[in-house]
Amino acid sequence: MRPELVLQLTIDGLLLGGVFALAALGLNVIFGVTRIVNLAHGNIVVLTALSAAIAFQRFGITPIEGLPVAMVGGALLGVIIDRLILRRLPEDAPTAETTSLLLTFGVSYFLVGLSLAIFTGDFRSVAYLTGSWLVGPLSIGKSRFLAFAVAIVIAAMLGVLLRSTKIGRALRAASQNLDGARACGVSIDRMRTLSFGLGSAIAAAAGALLSMIYAVNPDSGSQFTLIAFSVVALGGLGSYAGALLGSAILGLAVSFVGFFGNTQLGAMMPYVVFILVLLFRPSGLLGKSVA
């Protein structure tokens, strides 16, 4: 194997990993506060990516320009999932965990069906900034780099929000100790909705950026749900560093396997990594949360 090729695939994988990290950070905020496994998370990523592809193709709106709209849309979707669906969980439901899992399962397939009805089953991506920079023997895709850079900026902004604002502190408190946070006057009710809104807005941002570098169809949703959970499991529910490391591993797996095998095997990697991670670290998801 030529060393330049290895380096090239490594760079491609790491840049892709940056976008995966963003999707995972969104999930981390939701799961950290609510402990709800939201199976529809990846569908929000995919729905936004497909919308971004259509917006570019029909109206020439680039994913970067559309980013604010995408994030608002994602936030709305997250708030709807929490307020209109998960909150309606009746008192006599068998167990909250089972029922909320089934509810998000239903929402997830509702979104797959909706995406299929709107966008058909075709794989789509955005042909924006198709050129690349040549650095010695390596070529760095402009769109890939841009998506990565914006993802990192949004992740950093989320970090600042969580660490240095009042709302961020309340979110982190809620994810660390619900009763303690409640005792300090944090409205858990509001934090729950906020975490769904914020986490889904970030998932939507990841989707818009993803559309520049990775083709998806409506069925790809579960892939991104599992990518997000794998990243969280690999890195532990703890740190940004862990999340970035986890995403790097997944990005590399998709990039290398996609090149040496084929794209289908590459698309299988998130599932395989997820199962392996859980088998070797069944408690990987039980650490502390970022939010």
Binding site: L39, D92, L102, L103, G106, Y109, Y271, F274, I275
Partner: protein
């Protein structure tokens, strides 16, 4: 008592109808009966691991797929009779489910569900890439009078599902499963071998989709990864068990009977939006009727003092 007798009478009538209706030779009736029996039986299989044992699995379609390909490959490449291949598929899945269950059931509830979802996707992609399975082009089976044979195979499995569940509903194994579902740690403390019981439930619930998948391949006379490892089938099975009542003896039957008729009319009228409608249906059902029809009716009858 009256309600119970009426219930058994309806059950007997239903069985006679399902047994005799396809003899009319009407293609539409055969397909309606087949879809009904298929989904009721699938719901019984899913109910064992997800209803009784309380481990939601969104990946039972994996075993359905293996069963279907066992028949497709066995019949076309090795010229074996289809029912032998279907039975072998069932045996293979039972054997596969032991180590798989032992590994996966160590995961806590929601992560088991995610893991099984991942497994089903992995199986679909691998099938797509394996030459012997015909890849994305699929495999055509010899056409002919397959539908009736596949139907009675499916009906027999459905009856097996009812009988097995009735036994489990009453015996110590069922009691152990329910104890584990309510509180795994407490049940373990009281001497229930948690892993063993859960793996047993997992193996049983894998055999059903495996055998049914075999019949499905013979019924359709064509297999292809996307239509066999079908998210629609998985989604509908789950919706039916929820509608009837998860973890109950009659839930899968009631849910399956109602929902398969709904599904049949929906898929002809709105083929595009099938997933959307079933996804929404699950959400609405869980909010409106979280325990399903059977427990709701039982509670109603008890209140009136009929049952």
């Amino acid at each position: 008592m009256i309600a119970k007798r009426a219930g058994y009478a309806v059950l007997a009538l239903l069985f006679v109808v399902l047994l005799l209706a396809p003899l009319s030779g009407n293609g539409y009736i055969v397909s309606l009966c087949y879809i009904t029996a298929l989904f009721v039986a699938l719901a019984y299989g899913w109910n064992l691991i997800s209803g009784y044992a309380g481990y939601l699995s969104f990946g039972q379609i994996t075993f359905f797929g293996i069963g279907a390909y066992a028949v497709a490959i066995g019949v076309t490449r090795f010229h074996l009779p289809w029912y032998l291949c279907a039975a072998l598929g069932g045996v293979a899945c039972a054997a596969l489910a032991v180590p798989m269950g032992w590994l996966m059931l160590r995961l806590r509830g929601p992560f088991f569900a995610l893991g099984m979802l991942g497994l089903a996707q992995t199986a679909r992609i691998l099938t797509n890439l394996t030459p012997i399975s015909g890849g994305s082009e699929g495999i055509y089976l010899p056409p002919g009078a397959n539908a009736i044979a596949a139907y009675y195979w499916t009906l027999a499995i459905m009856v097996g599902g009812v009988v097995l569940t009735a036994a489990i509903d009453r015996n110590a194994f069922g009691l152990r499963l329910r104890a584990l579902r309510e509180d795994e740690r407490a049940a373990g403390t009281l001497g229930v071998d948690t892993t063993r019981s859960n793996v047993q439930a997992f193996v049983l619930s894998a055999i059903f989709p495996a055998l049914l998948g075999g019949g499905y391949a013979w019924y359709l006379t064509y297999v292809e990864p996307n239509s066999i490892y079908s998210t629609e089938i998985e989604l509908q099975t789950v919706a039916m068990a929820i509608l009837g009542g998860m973890g109950t003896l009659w839930g899968p039957l009631v849910g399956g009977l109602i929902m398969s008729q709904v599904s049949e009319s929906l898929s002809t009228r709105f083929p595009q939006t099938h997933l959307m409608i079933f996804g929404a249906l699950i959400v609405v059902l869980l909010i409106a009727l979280p325990r399903g029809i059977v427990p709701a009716v039982a509670a109603f009858l008890k209140k009136r003092g009929i049952a």
